[in-house]
Symmetry: C2
């Protein structure tokens, strides 16, 4: 069901009073009548939640290269077409990793009976031999500790434990998940476990991407539930602990997929592009409702609502539903490569990939003066509690390849405090998304997108990054891992 | 690790001031020096949490008739012996139900792709054919609705949905789980699903007991996660929904097990028994930390602490760790039968089976005057927030067979508001138990038990129950199902 919220009198009054904007000059700025239409429509006849139900209940999980992903691409194309929004597919080769059967257990000892382990292989992991891998566990709290342990790691399964308890801890803990296997393998480990990166747990493991360093033996890697990480910790306090891991995962040859690209051409400067991104793929567990179905429907709905404006905004609003954010970032890279020639005309990029939660405000990654350009136009979002520029930096994994081209980033920050309760787990399902929050975030994205496409000036471009490879800015609650 | 709490100055002062008790007469009442020793010991050198770790991490799940249950019986016996408490085993034939492999899915339709179902067979359910059972789902909200649907139920899998959201909803929802399969089968259903009886969910199903009515076809029955019940509800709004269930569960012949009985003989009236109960069995998922490992260690610790008193209390304190509470209540029935001749001398029975949470106070099921007998002696529990008689009725599934003999019941009520987040699920593990809460509840149980064994009078016996079969009183957050 789409969320239907009555427009409050306060919001209506905001929509009809002047913002604290510079006085319009010869070139007119964003129109407050448009604020009324975009925000009003997103909150009253918005299709975001109904679309999200189609994507999650109708299609389900959509890991890169899977049948679900293919279905999602076709669904997105059909949906844009139904909305009257110009849409096309851009080819992307994506990795094809399959989970297979998986299980783990703590083997019985004199001190305790056997325990099953609630685990999930990390995306990209190699499997174990079919008969499983059996080894003693050694527990560490950091990548650095592995090296310090030296010989003790040899032949062991390294358990990366950590103390993630709030969403803000994700970035740090994600390094253990992403890099832990190779760090452990270099020290002679035969397997790797990481405590799930979760802010709530009912013995529910959370998967996620990992990557192997070149030239280092590839060892099987899995996330265990918080409960089982704590069990292993307690058992290890009493002496040696052996586990058996059976991971049936493997990587098949790359397959063809697509970025789904849609746009509303600008009326005056069609070559200037405001890019709105989200990723269409999800993990193979749960249905990717928050990650990133919510982002997908927010930017699709934005395109639909802006597409109905007459006249269209000054600049082109382009939506990209990226392929393969979760386990490869191939979509983000393919877009940057295919559109290298026009990135100088990308005046802003905004990625929604932190869940379908209540909007809190706007963040930027731009040169000096960016806040002054955008800030005055946020007044129509005040009644939604999202009318301010917030500290922190905009970012997003899929748009991170645009950093070298100095594309300014804009973000609508949402309240992601409960995101990691469900992120990358079986629990990331539609019921976790509040239709009211999703509608409000959609309204904010629609209005901010329109402002970027209509405001007379453009955001100053940020500094060129250091020569090193681009990384996703820390502000996005996503691993910087591809 | 055992919990170590400093005794607050306030508590110490309480322990050394007089309670609002009737002035001691010729026969002395409970001693406040004993309060100091029992409560102080439970809070400072208590072994409850360490014991709970032995039971949950060391032994793990312990469903009736399983190897885990056998290990738990031997562990309990050894532990009482180590504590110097007299212990013996009393034989009980228990059912042997095994889960086997299980899975379920929503079959793909034109409207949606296939979805896996997170489910768990209900204890006692028959299995499906090996190739699975496929049928359309029909959703109901009550047992009554099944009959109202008439022919529409025929050949269907009935989904019992409900709106349980807080612990207090358990009793009502449990009737769906316990009786739903036979109610559905009478109407021609071929399978039964029930939304998990849970107050939190991360797609985590909760099992529990069910029973078949005699003469009604036995159909497979499972609990689905809250998320999947909601998914089915949403899909059903759009048209027919088919599911496939594969349940490998089955019931094997009964096996021999035991109630573990331990006691501290009374110094003056050894034939008068204060019975302290908890159940040693658990479900086969999780490790039964709250249900009912916590209760087990509270009453074991009470026996240890009271066993160290010199002189012993006036009456006998007997601990019974019941077999097979979860899926048969055979232990509770066997005790009532084996001890039928002495139930007239059972002056009180107290069962701890609502989790290892903070104590809130004391409840009774006794004749008029019970509160006046016990209430004045609860002052030493005031600093723990448990010093009052609370409204509601004491009970417990295992002691419910003592109701016809009019045994007075006493309960230490704990804060079970989060119990059903984990109850009967994989998440009922040691990490969910707060050592401080467990120690405080243990202190309360120890003191109340001593009071019952030492107070000059005895609780007035409650009214005889109606002629019908006994049921567990509603006050205990347990199904009344055997």
């Amino acid at each position: 069901m789409p969320s239907v919220l009555p427009l409050s009198a306060a919001l209506l009054s905001l929509l009809t009073t002047a913002p604290r904007a510079p006085a319009p000059e010869a070139v007119t700025g964003p129109s407050l009548q448009v604020a009324e239409r975009l925000i009003g429509a997103a909150l009253t006849e918005g299709r975001a939640y109904a679309r999200l139900a189609e994507l999650t209940d109708g299609i389900g999980p959509r890991l890169a290269g899977s049948e679900g992903e293919k279905a999602a691409v076709q669904w997105a194309k059909r949906s844009f077409e139904a909305d009257g929004v110009k849409v096309w597919l851009e080819p992307v080769k994506v990795p094809r990793w399959v989970r297979g059967e998986e299980s783990g257990r703590v083997l019985a000892s004199e001190r305790y009976r056997a325990h099953p382990l609630a685990l999930m292989a990390l995306g990209g992991s190699v499997g174990t031999p079919a008969k499983g891998l059996t080894a003693e566990v050694i527990e560490v709290r950091s990548l650095e500790e592995v090296a310090a342990l030296g010989e003790k790691v040899k032949g062991k399964v390294v358990l990366f434990n950590h103390s993630m308890s709030v969403a803000a801890d994700y970035g740090k803990a994600a390094a253990l998940r992403t890099r832990g296997a190779s760090v452990a393998a270099k020290a002679g480990a035969v397997g790797m476990l990481v405590r799930s990166l979760a802010t709530a747990s009912l013995r529910s493991p959370h998967t996620g991407a990992m990557r192997y360093e070149e030239g280092v033996p590839q060892i099987p890697a899995a996330a265990v539930s918080v409960e089982d990480a704590e069990l292993l910790h307690r058992l290890l306090a009493g002496g040696p602990v052996k586990v058996e891991l059976k991971l049936g995962c493997r990587t098949l040859p790359d397959v063809d997929s697509f970025n789904v690209v849609a746009e509303v051409p600008g009326r005056e400067k069609p070559r200037e592009v405001v890019l709105l991104g989200a990723h269409l793929d999800s993990w193979d567990v749960g249905t990717g409702a928050h990650d990133d179905g919510a982002g997908v429907v927010m930017v699709m709905e934005t395109a639909r609502l802006i597409g109905k404006l007459n006249p269209a905004p000054r600049r082109t609003v382009r939506v990209v539903l990226f392929a393969n954010e979760e386990n490869g970032l191939r979509g983000g890279r393919a877009y940057a490569e295919a559109h290298a020639g026009e990135l100088g005309n990308h005046v802003a990029a905004l990625e929604m990939d932190a869940g379908g939660y209540k909007p809190l405000g706007v963040v930027l990654r731009a040169g000096p003066g960016g806040a002054e350009l955008v800030g005055p136009w946020l007044k129509p979002l005040e009644a939604l509690g999202a009318g301010s520029i917030l500290p922190g930096e905009a970012g997003g994994a899929d748009i991170s390849p645009l950093i070298p081209a100095r594309v300014p980033f804009v973000g609508v920050r949402v309240d992601s405090s409960r995101y990691f309760d469900v992120h990358h787990s079986e629990a990331d399902t539609l019921d976790k998304v509040d239709p009211k929050d999703l509608a409000q975030a959609t309204a904010a994205v629609a209005w901010v997108s329109y402002v970027l496409a209509e405001v007379p000036g453009v955001l100053p471009r940020p500094e060129a990054p250091p020569a090193e490879a681009p990384k996703a800015p820390a502000a996005a609650p996503k691993s910087s891992a591809p």
